[in-house]
């Protein structure tokens, strides 16, 4: 469509005077909006009272399991859309992708508001779940691959800055959602549909800022003073691997396994943080909620810290730290419970979650090292399917094992110990995958310039 030509990659090439430091806030603006998915749970309970307003009407109002599917569908669609549309994202460039993402994600919120107004769960599934999920996938990968191209000297810092926003999205989206629902609440409404409309509009404005600020570097652009290869690193290639070739390398699948294990272990804790804290230490639900909020801060901070650190240590080393230190920390959680030490428990879980976030942020830089930056968005998109898999696997494992333990007479406080040992085992599997990573064979490379 020629009238949308101004959104094309060719029209987003940065002029010579353009500062690359405008790109991180553009990427952050997009990720902070779509990252609000992590805070979607604040809508769960109010969505079960859409008809009853003050209390849920059994048989007429939606149930928690029905509402829970909205989040799950969105995450599944995130993985699928990133995997399927990654090639398109690389072809059309970041501006068109972010605009498409904004229309999908914010349109999904608006359609969901309509679904709430008509009390149609199908419309909410289609809106926030399917359409919103596609927006998530598009908005997730495009700013990341663009930033990597702007920061060839610090790819870890670049991916950390973008993906930090996704972790931070919940920190804004959840309290903002609560505030807006309280503002719009009336005897005739729980305030959800109005909140979804307002959030959709605010996010759209923010994402447009991101779309029209973002640029791609001109062909051959390099940061001042940067020399591409000083001392070649074993795992870092200066060539490029196409999506079709990358898909066939063992390295791709090793990284897939690593991401899946790291996310499965972290998401299991993150999803159950509040309940776990209550069961282990007998704290109130409000305190448990505060603990979950605290973990979100470490989830966000870990993305920037670990990923930028990986520029100095190398990706393989940092992932080995995630898996080894992570496994050790998981093994110490039952000890913290036995000692009834809340500060130790908070310290252990905060570190675990920081490495969970760090795993997300470092993986695109690892991909860039192995496969080059030319097809990074498309390859990263395919790899994100590991996240979708883990998003189902992690919470299920924690739920199933802890419930099984409780049903078999294990005290509530100790019901999570077996899960912690299992998570440590998963991380050891991830470590094996990481240790097996070798440079991609030359036969997979093509050497076209960026």
């Amino acid at each position: 469509m020629s009238f949308l030509g101004f959104l094309d990659r060719a029209h987003t090439v940065a002029p010579a005077h353009f500062s690359r430091w405008l790109i991180p806030p553009a990427a952050l603006a997009v990720h902070l909006c779509i990252g609000s998915i992590y805070g979607f749970s604040v809508f769960n309970e109010p969505l079960t009272r859409v008809l009853g307003i003050s209390a849920s009407i059994k048989g007429q109002d939606w149930s928690i399991p029905e509402v829970g599917w909205i989040y799950s569908i969105a995450l599944i669609m995130l993985g699928l859309s990133a995997a399927v549309l990654g090639r398109w994202v690389e072809r059309v460039g970041p501006r068109k992708t972010i605009v498409a993402s904004a229309f999908c994600f914010c349109g999904g919120l608006w359609i969901s508001a309509l679904g709430v107004a008509f009390h149609s769960i199908t419309l909410v599934y289609l809106g926030y779940g399917v359409l919103g999920g596609i927006g998530l996938g598009l908005g997730y990968i495009s700013p990341v691959s663009t930033l990597v191209k702007w920061f060839p000297d610090r790819p870890g810092l670049a991916t950390g800055m973008a993906i930090m926003g996704f972790g931070g999205g919940a920190l804004i989206g959840a309290p903002l959602g609560v505030e807006l629902m309280a503002h719009f609440k009336s005897p005739a409404s729980v305030g959800v549909k109005e909140t979804l409309l307002v959030l959709g509009t605010v996010y759209f404005a923010f994402m447009m800022f991101g779309a029209f600020t973002i640029r791609v570097p001109a062909t051959g652009w390099l940061p001042r003073g940067y020399v591409a290869v000083t001392a070649p690193k074993k795992l870092v290639t200066q060539s490029h691997v196409s999506l079709d070739a990358a898909w066939k390398t063992p390295q791709f699948w090793l990284l897939w396994g690593m991401l899946c294990m790291n996310v499965t272990a972290g998401i299991g804790i993150l999803g159950q943080a509040s309940l776990m804290c209550q069961d282990m230490f007998g704290v109130s639900a409000a305190v448990g909620g505060g603990f979950a909020g605290l973990l979100s801060i470490f989830n966000m901070a870990g993305r920037l810290f670990w990923s930028s650190t990986s520029d100095r240590t190398g990706r393989k080393t940092i992932y080995s730290v995630f898996f080894l230190l992570g496994a050790l920390l998981y093994l110490l959680v039952p000890f913290a419970e036995k000692q009834q030490s809340v500060p130790l428990f908070v310290l252990l879980t905060a570190l675990i979650i920081s490495m969970y976030g760090g795993g997300f942020a470092t993986i695109p830089a690892y991909l860039r090292d192995l496969f080059g930056s030319m097809h990074l968005g498309a390859i990263h998109g395919r790899l994100i399917t590991a996240w979708s898999m883990a998003a189902v696997l992690g919470p299920q494992l924690v739920n199933y094992i802890s419930t099984y333990q409780k049903e078999h007479g294990v005290p509530k406080a100790e019901a999570y110990n077996a899960t912690m040992y299992l998570m440590a085992g998963l991380l050891m599997f991830g470590l094996c995958c990481n240790l097996l990573v070798r440079p991609v064979h030359d036969r997979f490379h093509h050497s076209d310039a960026i």
């Binding site: 010579a16 005077h17 353009f18 500062s19 430091w21 405008l22 991180p24 806030p25 553009a26 952050l28 603006a29 902070l32 926003g165 931070g168 919940a170 920190l171 804004i172 309290p175 903002l176 800022f209 600020t213 001109a218 051959g220 652009w221 390099l222 940061p223 001042r224 003073g225 804290c277 230490f281 007998g282 704290v283 109130s284 409000a286 305190v287 909620g289 505060g290 603990f291 909020g293 605290l294 979100s296 801060i297 966000m300 009834q340 030490s341 809340v342 500060p343 908070v346």
Partner: protein, 50 residues
């Protein structure tokens, strides 16, 4: 090609950062405030269990 001498105005870069850091800081502050009871409760919980 490398960066030319003419640069993007620094106030423009600063404004872009401020635009994203303000909501992010607000979110971080909200979470910190929400988590304070965790540490207020941590003392009594530990001492009562010896």
């Amino acid at each position: 090609m490398t960066d030319s001498r003419k640069k993007t105005p620094v106030p423009l870069i600063a404004a872009a950062w401020v635009l994203v850091l303000i909501p992010l800081s607000w979110g971080v502050m909200q979470s910190v405030l929400k988590s304070l009871p965790l540490f207020q409760q941590a003392g009594p919980s530990r001492s009562s269990k010896g």
